[in-house]
C-alpha cells in the first residue's frame, strides 16, 4: 500500500472530496429533452370550388408555450409537405418541455411558388385544427382548408 506523507495525503483527500461534491451537486446532464412520438393520420381537403391541385404544406405547432405573461401561442414544432390533398400519415416528435397542446395548420400551394398568397397570385386556402386528444401516440384529424390566404396566427384560436 502506498503511504503518502501528510500534506499530499491531505491534498488527495481534499481533491477527492471536491470531486465528490461536484458530482453529487450537479451530475452532468445539461439539456434533458423528452420527445413524445405522435403518429398523425387523417385527411386534408379543401372546400368545394377551391383549387385542389398542388402541394400541401403542413405545420405542427404547440398550442401554447411559455408561462405567465410571457406565454404565447403557436410555437412551431415541425413541418412537412404532402404531394396532394387527401389521406396522409406522418410521424412527428413533440418536445414536451417546450409547450402544451398540439395544433396542425396546413395550406395548399396551388400555384407551386412555395409562398402563401404571393402578391398578384391567386388566393390559396388554409386551415387549422387543434388536436384535443394530445398527448396520445395515435391521433386522427380531418382538416378542411377554407380560409384563403390566412396564416396560422389569424386562424388560432
Amino acid at each position: 500500500m502506498i503511504r503518502l506523507p501528510p500534506q499530499p495525503r491531505l491534498a488527495a483527500v481534499g481533491l477527492a472530496s471536491l470531486l465528490s461534491l461536484c458530482l453529487s451537486l450537479g451530475a452532468c446532464v445539461n439539456d434533458d429533452t423528452t420527445l413524445y412520438e405522435v403518429n398523425l393520420s387523417g385527411t386534408i381537403d379543401v372546400a368545394e370550388g377551391s383549387p385542389s391541385g398542388g402541394q400541401v404544406h403542413v405545420e405542427v405547432l404547440h398550442a401554447r408555450s411559455g408561462k405567465g405573461t410571457l406565454s404565447y401561442p403557436l410555437r412551431p414544432i415541425t413541418e412537412f409537405e404532402l404531394d396532394e390533398l387527401g389521406e396522409f400519415e406522418e410521424s412527428v416528435l413533440v418536445p414536451l418541455e417546450n409547450g402544451e397542446g398540439l395544433v396542425v395548420y396546413a395550406w395548399l400551394d396551388s400555384d407551386g411558388d412555395g409562398f402563401l398568397c404571393a402578391p398578384g397570385a391567386a388566393p390559396e386556402p388554409a386551415g387549422i385544427v387543434e388536436l384535443e386528444d394530445f398527448p396520445a401516440h395515435e391521433l386522427e384529424l380531418e382538416l378542411v382548408l377554407t380560409e384563403p390566404c390566412a396564416g396560422a396566427e389569424i386562424l388560432y384560436p
Partner: protein, 321 residues
C-alpha cells in the same frame, strides 16, 4: 464597474507608499557590513546571527554567506503574478470584481511546480471549482512565463444552465519590477456538456446521449502589488468570452488580496537526510528565530538558500527582485 485606470492608479500609489518588499531589504544589514574582500563583520541586527548558530551555519559571515543573504525571500505577490510558488511556500488569494470572483490556493514544490486548487465564479451563477498544476517555463530576472493546467467541474444555474467536466490551459507572463509585477494571463477553458434525449414511443422509451463543447476564452491584464513580503494586492482587467463564438465578450475588473508564507520551514528541507539529533537542533534554532519579528524571519531565509543554489530552486527559489 470600477474603472481600470483607477485600479491601476491605486496600485501605483500603494506601491509607492509601501516599503520596498524586495529581498534586498531583508539582507540590507549584511550588505552594509560586508568588506571589500568579501568577508563581513557581525551585522548590526543581532537577530540574524542568533538564528544561524544552531543550524550549523557559520556565525562569522563569509563571502558565500553574504551572497546567499542577497538571495532573499520573494514577495508572495510576485509569485502570484507568475502563478508559481517557489519550493516550500504556499500562496492563497481571493479576488472580487465584476463579474468574476475567485479563491485560489497553491503550494510550491521542487522543479518549479505548484499544485493548486481554485474556485471561480461569475456572479454566483456560474461556478468552476478546479485543481491543477502550474509550472514555470521561463525564469529571467525581469520576465517570467509559466503555464497552468486545471481540471474541474462547471456549474451554471439559470435558464442557460450548464454542468460538466472542465479543463483549462493558461499562460502567464509576468514582469516583476522593483515594487510591482504587471502580468498578462491568457486562458482557454473547455467544458464538455452532455445532453440526454428521451423519446417516448408507443412501444416504450428510448434514451440517447450526445456531447457538445463550450469554449471560453480568457484574458487578464493586471498588476500584483506587494504590501509586505507575505501580503499583496492583485488588480486587473478581465476580458472573457464565455461560450464563444456564440456570444459577446464581457469586460470586467477585479481586485484581490494575496497572502503567502512558508509551507514548512526551509531549513527542514536542508536537514533531510541528516541525523535526527541534527534536526532537533535545527528546530530549536528555528523556534528561537520564529519569536523574532518578520524581519528576523526574512533574515532566516538565507539559510534556505543553500538548497536554492542548486537545481530548480536555484532558478526559482528566491531570486532577489
Amino acid at each position: 464597474m470600477i474603472a481600470p485606470a483607477s485600479l491601476l492608479g491605486a496600485a501605483l500609489l500603494l506601491a509607492e507608499a509601501a516599503p520596498a518588499p524586495s529581498a534586498r531589504d531583508a539582507s540590507a544589514p549584511l550588505e552594509a557590513t560586508s568588506t571589500d574582500d568579501g568577508a563581513a563583520s557581525a551585522p548590526a541586527d543581532g537577530r540574524v546571527a542568533r538564528g544561524r548558530g544552531p543550524a550549523g551555519v557559520p556565525s562569522t559571515f563569509t563571502r558565500s554567506t553574504v551572497l546567499h543573504a542577497r538571495i532573499g525571500v520573494e514577495p508572495s505577490a510576485f509569485e502570484a503574478a507568475s502563478g508559481v510558488s517557489s519550493s516550500g511556500r504556499w500562496l492563497a488569494s481571493a479576488t472580487a470584481g465584476y463579474p468574476w470572483w475567485g479563491v485560489r490556493l497553491q503550494l510550491g514544490f521542487r522543479h518549479g511546480l505548484s499544485p493548486l486548487v481554485e474556485v471561480q465564479t461569475a456572479l454566483a451563477r456560474r461556478w468552476r471549482p478546479a485543481a491543477g498544476l502550474s509550472m514555470l517555463w521561463v525564469n529571467l530576472p525581469r520576465l517570467r512565463i509559466g503555464g497552468e493546467a486545471l481540471l474541474g467541474w462547471l456549474f451554471q444555474a439559470g435558464e442557460l444552465g450548464r454542468r460538466g467536466p472542465n479543463a483549462e490551459l493558461r499562460v502567464r507572463v509576468a514582469a516583476p519590477l522593483r515594487r510591482l509585477a504587471p502580468y498578462i494571463m491568457l486562458g482557454s477553458q473547455h467544458t464538455l456538456l452532455a445532453d440526454r434525449t428521451t423519446v417516448i414511443r408507443a412501444s416504450g422509451e428510448e434514451r440517447s446521449w450526445s456531447l457538445r463543447g463550450e469554449w471560453t476564452g480568457w484574458g487578464t491584464v493586471g498588476v500584483a502589488v506587494p504590501i509586505t513580503r507575505r501580503v499583496g494586492l492583485d488588480l486587473g482587467v478581465d476580458l472573457t468570452w464565455v461560450d464563444a463564438p456564440e456570444t459577446i465578450v464581457i469586460p470586467g475588473a477585479h481586485g484581490g488580496i494575496i497572502i503567502g508564507g512558508f509551507r514548512q520551514n526551509p531549513a527542514q528541507n536542508k536537514s533531510r537526510g541528516k541525523s535526527r539529533g541534527q534536526n532537533q537542533g535545527q528546530n530549536q534554532g528555528q523556534s528561537r528565530t520564529r519569536r523574532g519579528s518578520h524581519d528576523a524571519a526574512s533574515a532566516r531565509a538565507p539559510r534556505a538558500m543553500p538548497s536554492a543554489s542548486s537545481g530548480a530552486e536555484a532558478a526559482y527559489g528566491g531570486r532577489s527582485l
